[in-house]
Symmetry: C2
């Protein structure tokens, strides 16, 4: 018997489910409804369209073989019915009918269904502040907004922009405005760091420094309190508690919220924060109604907690799973580890699993290995430092998360992806130690960054390595009186250590090159706390072990070393 | 009590074990012995030194912080004793002493040990043919050979080179000679394909085509039968059964063999093919003697069979494990999945697990998904096609291996590394389907290549997708009489399909664009075998499903599509 399927939402999860289901059940009658007239687009590509990397919006709506995914495409090539500019008004679960309205004609009809899918996505969160309705204030809600933003820039109407929100979309939009268009761009983030909850503070700090290097002004811990406009209703500025930022364009990227109105009104279970509740088959509390994509609640596989994971990649995978289950193939979506990656100008930043901050809050016996190795063989042309943080539980040795920051290529991606699939399996430090990363000098160091991070984690668990956290070190450097009883042991090359000795004095900064410590350890003060400093932390670890052996045990290694300090940026760095 | 440790071999596994052990047991007395005067170098970097990418050999012997790893370095910085130009002659297991000879003075001494490590590496296999001793014939045995090769090229003494052996080192050396130096280079490989046993034939064929595009002449299935020289003992040519190849430089890269003489003579267990037998703690048959690196036999985790896995990355990891165990920390090396990656001019080729050919030979219910997706969002600037093959067992759905071929960046690396850690865990098609690859348009498609490959594998297992193997298709195209009863259904854009219809005739080549098949399926002959053709195979799969639905079930999809055909290179391609 032919089943009738209705899919509400035509961007990512919806079309994927519909197309996959049509392949599984070619005889079924499948209708996709969307309130927009543009559907099936790569929303994650919007910043690259605004920047000009992608020249036309239709490219975001095209297949890899360059056909535009419009209504005729879905109907002719895929055999679906597609109703665009059509809003789903209500679900009548009793009669299994969706009430929809044609937004052009105003005509309302009922679409009967045997199985229904909600792929209603998410909507941008609009801050409850004055001025959000002013001309020139945009959210990144859909392709139309993107087209309008780009048009204004291309017409030369935008000199100064303020982006509200330092999450991934905010940062990507700041780059889009500043990089190719040269718009004077400011990014404000209410939380104390960029990418809150996605990465730990050091990674956010390295990103912030890079944005500043690229002439994006960044203010963290500083939310927008109002948006100001002129008499014509045009935006003129963004107000924060600290300053007034002139703007002729404001992008509000303050997060997104699941679109759950239909689900709520139909009496389906919805989480308090808004995500539609589904089981692993992606069925809502009504087994004939599925939901997928940015509108659902899913499970974080590390914490076991409910989470929101609005990613185009997950929407596509979930869409396929909905198609399977509707067709009668049992297929499960078990949850997410929260893999994330982004380009920010010349850098890449990525993470998977949970942050150290989150791991502490979750009650894990959390610790982390902060490393700064070369991203490929150090002798291979173009190698660069990449910074990684492996977050783990000291008691169980389970790896909880990994973060990476490096130059813009796919090398961070390789490590984070491998980490993600391991974390999904509940991997331990030993699994990371044993990960068999493919090796050749153009692609990795002989000891891959993943293996190296596990070595450090192993050393930490065995208490062979005692580290000083970067935040404590930076605080001590800002104010010597905070913790006066320490001395830096700088084991870098004398040319590198010299300016520091000169600036901070031999009482505070002792320079003994790495290779000479075995001969000159007598110069290391025995009555002070010694902070051992090098570029990446590996040499410092060796020196710590040796000093332990000769009885100087009051030492700590600066985790991540100067490779991280330099990327974070500090004002005490000698000229 | 201070233990005495002797390590024989100072390139990779040996120094790693020695340094790690010294950190674990700073009071122990550790001596490293090597017959060479140059130690601790990145042997995998030799092709990049010869090419000129790495300007000085000392860079291959340097740390990431630019200190040369010579004897003073190991003694001062690491606290080891190092005896270079010192050959280990024999192991007296009864008296726990290694007899060594100083190669400069001829003096022999006995080094007592409590625990001993063999890190004797591997030696190049020298073919049993005439002329191998001629001047100008080199193996890539050590850094001295590399220095000599580069010197000859830099002095203008090399116009024509022949590389014997199409494994990874042979291909890398061919690139080194041809690319930067412009040496007229020929590569000969006895087996029918390049990279035998490492990749399946299609991947080898794509590599071969690219080498030819880069002006390397490649002859496969054609071994060297003799090396010819002139009256002065200088090499002049390499003879094969088919031709005489002029050469003033010959690189013999015909594989390597474990250096096991010391182990054998000491009565330690050695595999018939030469690998020193070790347990997972990397102990030889004498529990006080460990072995690691290119000299040992290890286990292939997919087949369970003994294997040789001579990789610098594994040597380093194994070295650390030997150090652990010697120090009393139980640490295991469980085996390998055989991860492999290489740069070849503008391409990257990589693999992990076992090939389809090997999986068939091992008796698996083997099948494969050959895909050719975009390596990042298709709208992102610089995206390129990458070809992947996922090898799996249809019955258990276990993934057995994955191969990748694409442009030279880290994108293949990301997929192969993620695949490797999953295959190590015995992952199934479902695990690959669920792999949470970090997504943003600059780094991947919304459906990552790994997920996409799993989708195809799933479709194959469910018999929803029926494929035609590439080798059969190419054979049928070469000779229509082999299998006359088929017709191509070319669903690409008419501009792409047109020249094929013109060349092969409408009887053989039916062109119906993908989006029109639902309307025009009447044009598809019902009495023939239909081979559905597109660029990547995904559209063809959809069309197959649709034709099944309308009762035309005698169809096959060309696995990998024209994206693979073009990369393999065929002579029947229309102009």
């Amino acid at each position: 018997m032919t089943e009738k399927i209705v899919v509400i939402g035509g961007v990512a999860a919806g079309p994927k489910a519909a197309c996959h289901l049509k392949r599984l059940q070619p005889g079924w009658d499948i209708t996709v409804v969307d309130q927009d007239n543009l559907i099936s687009y790569g929303g994650c590509g919007i910043p690259y369209y605004v920047s000009g990397d992608v020249s036309d919006e239709s490219e975001l709506r095209s297949t890899s073989f360059h056909m535009v995914r419009d209504v005729p495409f879905f109907e002719r090539a895929k055999g679906l019915k597609v109703l665009t500019s059509t809003r789903a008004l209500a679900i009548d679960r009793q009669n299994k009918t969706v009430q929809v309205e044609d937004l052009e004609s105003g005509k309302k009809i009922g679409l009967p269904y045997d199985q229904l899918m909600l792929a209603t996505g998410a909507k941008p969160f609009v801050l409850p502040i004055a001025g959000v309705e002013l001309d020139g204030v945009f959210t990144i809600a859909n392709l139309h907004k993107a087209v309008e933003i780009k048009k204004r820039i291309a017409q030369g109407k935008v000199d100064k922009a303020v982006v509200i929100g330092g999450g991934a979309i905010g940062v990507e939009m700041a780059e889009a405005l500043a990089d190719l268009w040269g718009v004077k761009t400011t990014l404000v983030e209410f939380m104390p760091q960029l990418l809150p909850h996605l990465v730990d503070w050091q990674f956010a700090a390295m990103l912030k420094t890079h944005l500043q290097e690229k002439n994006v002004a960044v203010f963290t811990g500083e939310g927008a309190t109002a948006i100001l406009g002129d008499a014509n209703g045009k935006v003129t500025a963004v107000q924060t508690p600290e300053r007034t930022l002139e703007a002729d364009l404001v992008i509000m990227a303050a997060g997104i919220r699941p679109r759950n109105e239909l689900a709520k009104e139909a009496g389906l279970a919805v989480a308090p924060w808004g995500g539609i509740v589904v089981n692993q088959r992606l069925q809502t509390s009504d087994p004939d109604i599925y939901a997928a994509g940015d509108c659902i609640a899913t499970t974080n596989l590390v914490t076991g907690r409910e989470t929101h994971a609005p990613m185009g990649s997950l929407a596509n995978r979930q869409g396929r799973i909905v198609g399977d289950n509707m067709a009668g193939i049992n297929s499960l979506f078990k949850g997410v580890v929260g893999s994330f990656i982004m380009k920010a100008f010349d850098r890449c930043i990525a993470a998977t699993g949970i942050t150290y901050e989150a791991a502490c809050a979750e009650g894990f016996d959390a610790d982390y290995a902060l490393t700064a190795p070369a991203d490929r063989a150090h002798f291979f042309p173009g190698e660069a430092v990449a910074v990684f943080q492996l977050v783990f539980d000291r008691r169980t040795r389970q790896v909880l998360g990994m973060q990476g920051f490096g130059v813009m290529n796919d090398s961070i991606s390789a490590r984070i992806d491998a980490a993600a699939v391991m974390i999904t399996q509940g991997a331990t430090i030993e699994d990371f130690r044993d990960a068999e990363m493919a090796y050749a000098p153009p692609f990795s160091a002989a000891i891959d960054s993943i293996n190296a991070a596990a070595f450090v984690a192993d050393n930490l668990c065995a208490d062979r390595l005692r580290k000083l956290d970067m935040d404590r070190f930076l605080a001590w450097m800002e104010d010597f009186s905070l913790e006066p009883d320490w001395v830096a042991l700088d084991i870098r090359h004398p040319q590198e250590a010299g300016p520091f000795v000169e600036k901070f004095g031999q009482e505070k900064w002792v320079a003994v090159p790495y290779a000479e410590v075995r001969d000159r350890h007598g110069e290391v003060p025995g009555d002070k706390t010694i902070i051992i400093l090098c570029d990446a932390g590996t040499r410092s670890y060796e020196v710590q072990i040796f000093l332990d052996h000769v009885g100087k045990k009051n030492t700590m290694v600066l985790s991540g070393g100067f490779n991280v300090v330099r990327r974070i940026g500090v004002d005490w760095y000698p000229e």
